[in-house]
Symmetry: C2
Subunit: 347 residues, 2 copies
C-alpha cells in the first residue's frame, strides 16, 4: 500500500506507508509496511496531552467547555472564530496571550493565510495551530501550582505529566519514549505506530480502569497506574475528550481541512487527528479500532489520502472525493496528473 | 543510500534515492536504489531541449549569446537581471512576451518571491523559471517557419524536434519515451535514470559523431541519426551548450540555489541541473561521467543534498556546507533537527 503521484499515465513519485490498525486489547488487526516503525507522534498525540485536563480536575476547576477541550486536541486553522475561542479559553484560566510560548506560523488553511495577508493581520502566538494545546498546558500548570514559565521544556512538570499520560495509554515505558522538540516548541514523543494505534483504540473503552482489570499480565500494571491517580475516580476522562472532538470537528482542524472533512463525512463515527511530517491517528468509535500511520517521507497530502483509504477499507464509506484522489495542476491551471492510494491493508 | 530527516536524535522521515552514474560509453559505474527507474526528466532535460538551437543553426541565425543558451537550459530564479536577459533574448528573435505560453508561478527563490510581493510586481510568463526554455522553443519555431502558436503541445514540430533530440542522446526510441505535461505546460519525457545519466555523460564527448562511430552494435544507429542532421557538420553543438552553462552558473538557477552553488564550488568542473519532483542530473566534465537521480517521493531539498553527496563521492570535494546538511527549525526559530544523506553509492 502506497500513495502514487501520476503525471499523465506514468507514476512520477511514490510515498511509502507504514500503518498499524489495533483493537482495544492491543491486537494488530491489519497493517501495511512496518507497523512497529518508531516515529514522532507530533500533533496526533494532542488528545493524550489534553487528557490530564479532565483526569486531574483542571476542566472542572476552571469550568472548561467542550470547545476548550476540542481546541486543546486541535491543530486548528487559525480561523478568526477559532482564535477568538482560544482567547476566551485563556481568559477562563486567567492567563494572557503573552504566556503562550508557541511560535507564530502561516495558518495551515491557505484560504485563512491569504485572508490575513490581505488584511495585514499580525500573526501572534494565539494564531499558532497549537495555541489550544498550549493554553491547556498553561491551565495544567496553574491548576497544579506549577510555574507557567518554561512550560514547554521536557523537564517541566507539565511535560512530565503529558509524558506519563502518553506512556500509560501507549503502554511504552516513559524511559523508552524518544523525546525531541516539536514545531511549536513543546516536547514531542517517538513511539511505535502499533502503540499509537492501541492508545487511540483504548479511547473507545468506556472504563479503561475496569476494562483493563479484566486483562491478564502486563497490562495490570497499567490498571495500577490508572487507579493510583485519584482523579480517575471521577469516572471516564477519555470519553469527555472523545465527545469534545466528535461534537466539534470544525475546531479539531478547520473548514476544508482533512481531519474536519473525514469526521464530518461520518458524524460520531470517527476521530481523525493529523500530525506533522505525514503522521495520522484515528479512532473508529463503534468498531473500537485505533489507526496510526506514517508516510515514510513525511508528505502531508499523502497522509490524508492514506487515512481516508484505511477508514474506507475498515468500513467507513464513502470518503470525501477530495480525499480519494487529489488532482495535480500545473502553473497554467491544467490538470496534469493525480495522487491516489494504490493497494490495501494486510490482515 | 537515502536522505534522513532527524528530529533530535531520532530519524523522523526518510527519502529513498534511485541513482545512476554512467560513463560516456553507457557503462553503469555506480548506482543506488534502482538505476533503471523510469521517471520524468522534467527540467533536467533542458540542455537537450536547448541543443537544437545550436544544432539546427538557430543560435547563429539570431546571433544568440552564451547567456541566451544558458537561460534556455535554466530553471532560473526570476531575478530581475535574469528576467531582463530573457526579455532581450525575446527581442533578439523578434518575439514578444505574449507569445510565451508558460504559466506564472511564485519565484523559486524565496528571497526574490518576497521582494516581488513587497513591491507588488505582477508575475507574468516571462517571470516563469522556464521562460528561457520557452523563448528557445519560440526561436526554434521561427527558424524553421513553424507556427509559434501552440508550440507547447507534443504534436507541434518544436516538441517533436525536442523529443527526437532527447531520444538521440538517451538512446531510448522516441516511441518508448513516456510523454506528459510539465509544470510550465510543455511536453515532458519519462525515461530510465541510466539513460538520462548516459545523455549527460555524452555531453563531455568532444565529437559525439566521431566517438560513437568507434562503438559497436546498436549505437551505430545513433551515429546515422546524428549525421543525417546537416547541422552536425558545423561541429560540436553540445560543447557550446556545456560552455554556456559552465560560464553562467548564476543563470542556470540563481543566487543561493543549489545548481548555482554546486557549479560555483567547482568552477568548470560540473554542470548540475535540477528537475521538479526530486530529479537531478549532472555532468562531471573532466571525468566524463553523467549522474541522474530521483528522490522516490519527489522531495526537492533531499535531491540537492543527494546530488552534493554523489558529486563528493565522485571526487568533487568539498561541497557547500548548506548542501551537506540542512538544519530544520521550528516556528520559534530553534534548530530541532537536520536533513543529511546516509550511506553511499554501490560500485
Amino acid at each position: 500500500m502506497h500513495v502514487e503521484s501520476r503525471r499523465g499515465s506514468v507514476v512520477e513519485s511514490r510515498h511509502r506507508l507504514h500503518i498499524a490498525v489495533v483493537d482495544g486489547e492491543g491486537r494488530l488487526v491489519a497493517h501495511a509496511g512496518d507497523p512497529d516503525l518508531v516515529t514522532f507522534w507530533r500533533s496526533a498525540a494532542k488528545p493524550f496531552q489534553a487528557l490530564p485536563l479532565v483526569a486531574d480536575g483542571v476542566a472542572d476547576r476552571f469550568g472548561l467547555k467542550r470547545e476548550d477541550l476540542a481546541l486543546a486536541c486541535a491543530s486548528h486553522s487559525s480561523e478568526p472564530g477559532q482564535v477568538a475561542l482560544v482567547r476566551e479559553f485563556l481568559q477562563r484560566i486567567g492567563c494572557t496571550e503573552r504566556e503562550l510560548l508557541c511560535g507564530p506560523h502561516r495558518p495551515l488553511s491557505e484560504a485563512v493565510a491569504r485572508d490575513y495577508e490581505m488584511r495585514g493581520v499580525r500573526l501572534t502566538a494565539v494564531y499558532s495551530n497549537c495555541s489550544g494545546k498550549h493554553t491547556g498546558m498553561l491551565a495544567l500548570a496553574k491548576h497544579h501550582d506549577w510555574p507557567t514559565q518554561f512550560y514547554t521544556r521536557i523537564e517541566h512538570p507539565v511535560q512530565q505529566r503529558c509524558l506519563a499520560e502518553v506512556s500509560r495509554w501507549t503502554d511504552v515505558p516513559a524511559e523508552r519514549i524518544g523525546v525531541a522538540v516539536d514545531g511549536c516548541g513543546v516536547a514531542c514523543f517517538a513511539i511505535p505506530l502499533r502503540s499509537m494505534a492501541w492508545a487511540y483504540a483504548r479511547l473507545a473503552i468506556a472504563d479503561f480502569g475496569l476494562r483493563i482489570a479484566e486483562l491478564q499480565g502486563k497490562v495490570v500494571a497499567l490498571h495500577d497506574a490508572h487507579t493510583d491517580n485519584p482523579q480517575s475516580a471521577i469516572g471516564n476522562p477519555q470519553s469527555r475528550v472523545v465527545e469534545a472532538m466528535l461534537r466539534h470537528p470544525e475546531l479539531v482542524a478547520g473548514s476544508g481541512r482533512p481531519c474536519t472533512e473525514l469526521m464530518r463525512a461520518h458524524p460520531g463515527r470517527v476521530i481523525a487527528k493529523v500530525g506533522a511530517e505525514g503522521v495520522y491517528s484515528a479512532l473508529l468509535v463503534r468498531e473500537g479500532l485505533g489507526v496510526a500511520l506514517k508516510v515514510e517521507d513525511g508528505h502531508s497530502v499523502a497522509s490524508a489520502l492514506a487515512l481516508a483509504a484505511v477508514l474506507a477499507e475498515l468500513g467507513l464509506k464513502p470518503q470525501p472525493p477530495s480525499l480519494v484522489a487529489r488532482p495535480t495542476t500545473n502553473s497554467r491551471g491544467d490538470v496534469v496528473g493525480e495522487m491516489r492510494v494504490n493497494g490495501g491493508l494486510l490482515q
